[in-house]
């Protein structure tokens, strides 16, 4: 169920990128798309009656666990997403300081 929600979230983020014209709204919909993507990645690795991949000692390595690799991928992807968002926000601050507007169509008119 969450996998379907994740895919719809990804599509919603895509829709947001095409509909919005405000720079901050574009960054917000980029973040929405990425959250949808991360939920999808984690839903790939979910095992129905598995438990979190934390092993308390060597002998209970035999239990049913959830797939750890998608979690490692999402850990890296979240921090990459923060890097891009911070850069995008710095650019939007720079754009607002020089052009005093955040609407893409006005900006293209000025340029």
């Amino acid at each position: 169920m969450i996998q379907y929600a994740a895919i719809f979230l990804f599509a919603l983020g895509f829709y947001g990128l095409f509909v919005n014209k405000n720079i901050i709204k574009l960054i917000v919909s980029l973040n929405v798309m990425e959250i949808g993507l991360f939920l999808f990645i984690i839903s790939i690795g979910f095992v129905s009656d598995g438990i979190a991949p934390i092993v308390s000692s060597v002998d209970d390595l035999g239990l049913i666990y959830v797939d750890p690799i998608p979690q490692a991928l999402v850990l890296t992807a979240i921090v990459i997403g923060v890097g891009t968002t911070a850069l995008g926000l710095a650019l939007s601050k720079n754009i607002f300081d020089t052009y005093h507007t955040l609407e893409l169509d006005e900006l293209e008119a000025i340029q």
């Binding site: 990804f10 990645i41 690799i69 998608p70």
Partner: protein, 463 residues
């Protein structure tokens, strides 16, 4: 000499260079020289990061890097051009040393990666370094658009990777190729392939998402122009080629969709170049058309000629963008009219620019001609006549607008244009132009390179 040094040493020096802000360009030159020297001693094969090679089932637990002839050529192109561009821009762009170091680490990693998610991480590193290089154009809106399209592209690429992982359980490209070949039912894999194709297509300036190119390269300068137009394009097309020839299986309707996308891209690129009057716009639209031709060659399996076309294109585009951006910076006017008679004063730079353009067009006596002749004959053998007609038409349009550009730049107009090119500029342009000329006439070193590129797939398959 482990191939990992090519990625790790630039990273280490970049981390340390933020403490010594003044010498970052010097550090960049040293590391670029170090990389070019290391390239002589690299031995080909696969290395395991972290040493996790599971002898029992012989499946690769950790991340692996893979070096073959294809990657050696790519590394030569990338590190050589970054060294050249860094040398030329040492005085004008002092603060971009660390960013270029990270771009070099990202691009080397891009070409060497043999793990899909590792490839995604290096796409992000080189992507973010590219966004920062374009901030030197002082146009934040076009940089923001580039960042947006780049993020959309890499998210789509990640989506494709995850679907492949869910189906095959591994992220290692070599194992993935074996499993896909065992499956060999391309209809199952249309969704991930299409997503990864469009995801990487954003970076390689292909049609659906290349709206950012006009803003970024249209206002480029002597650092961001050559970097984005030749170094980044060469690296992304090399990686694209590796994925297309080995991983993706293009048949039936998928092949049709992709071919249509590319042929439309070629025509649109050339027509836009034909119709624009700004010098830099002509160059950037021709590079869009070139990258679509290169990807078309990869899709149809002509790997050798695609590799030569990437090298020739990277070299000639570096010369063209360096010369034009330098002159536009001095006269800060983009129109072709204002640059009339630019070469009548500095003949040397003018001749190198002409050699680069003629080789791009594919006139005899230059490397461009040999490449174009061979891949057109290959297309004829595969009797794909529509593609041949499109490429011939595109090169005709290309010939017209490039010759028109050359005439304008050679014959002086009314007002006098005086642009000085310092000595290092001339030396670099002459060296690149000579290499285009030499490979044009005397091309048997390239044929030697031929046969060992052929077995990319064999080497990759047996691992």
């Amino acid at each position: 000499m482990n191939i990992i040094l090519l990625i790790v040493i630039p990273l280490l020096v970049a981390f340390l260079s933020i403490l010594v802000k003044k010498y970052q360009m010097m550090l960049l030159i040293f590391v670029a020289l170090f990389n070019v020297i290391i390239l002589f001693f690299l031995k080909q094969g696969m290395i395991f990061v972290g040493g996790y090679e599971d002898e029992l089932t012989h499946n690769l637990l950790g991340i692996t890097l893979f070096l073959d002839v294809y990657a050696v050529i790519a590394l030569w192109v990338i590190n050589g051009l970054i060294l050249v561009i860094a040398l030329l821009n040492i005085k004008s762009y002092q603060t971009y040393g660390t960013i270029l170091l990270l771009a070099m680490a990202g691009l080397n990693g891009l070409v060497l990666a043999n793990d899909l998610f590792n490839l995604f991480v290096f796409i992000e590193i080189s992507g973010i370094a590219a966004y920062l290089i374009t901030t030197s154009n002082k146009k934040p809106v076009s940089t923001f658009k580039y960042l947006l399209y780049g993020s959309i592209g890499s998210s789509l690429f990640l989506f494709g990777i995850v679907i492949l992982y869910a189906m095959f359980g591994t992220l290692n490209i070599v194992i993935m190729i074996r499993e896909i070949e065992a499956l060999n039912d391309y209809r199952q894999l249309i969704l991930p392939f299409l997503m990864m194709f469009i995801g990487l297509g954003v970076e390689a300036k292909l049609l659906p998402f290349n709206h950012w190119v006009k803003g970024v390269l249209g206002t480029s300068n002597s650092l961001s122009g050559p970097m984005i137009a030749s170094v980044y394009m060469a690296a992304t097309t090399f990686v694209f080629g590796r994925l297309i020839t080995n991983l993706f299986q293009f048949e039936g309707s998928l092949l049709l969709v992709v071919t249509i996308l590319l042929t439309v891209g070629i025509l649109v690129g050339d027509l836009m170049a034909f119709s624009s009057t700004k010098v830099r716009e002509i160059l950037l639209f021709s590079s869009i058309a070139q990258s679509s031709i290169i990807v078309l060659l990869f899709v149809n399996g002509l790997v050798i000629w695609a590799v030569y076309l990437i090298i020739a294109n990277a070299l000639s585009k570096t010369v063209m963008f360096l010369v034009i951006n330098h002159s536009v910076q001095k006269t800060n006017d983009d129109e072709v009219e204002s640059l009339k008679g630019l070469f009548s004063h500095n003949l040397l730079v003018g001749t190198t620019f002409t050699i680069a353009t003629l080789s791009l067009m594919g006139l005899p006596l230059f490397i461009g001609f040999i490449i174009k002749l061979n891949y057109l004959t290959m297309f004829a053998q595969q009797n794909q006549f529509i593609v041949m007609i499109v490429i011939l038409l595109a090169s005709l349009i290309e010939g017209i607008y490039l010759v028109r550009l050359l005439i304008k730049l050679w014959y002086p107009g009314d007002q006098k244009v005086e642009v000085k090119y310092h000595l290092a500029f001339k030396v670099v342009c002459v060296v690149i132009a000579l290499s285009l000329l030499v490979f044009g006439t005397y091309s048997n070193p390239l044929n030697k390179l031929d046969h060992n590129i052929d077995e990319i797939s064999e080497v990759v398959i047996h691992g």
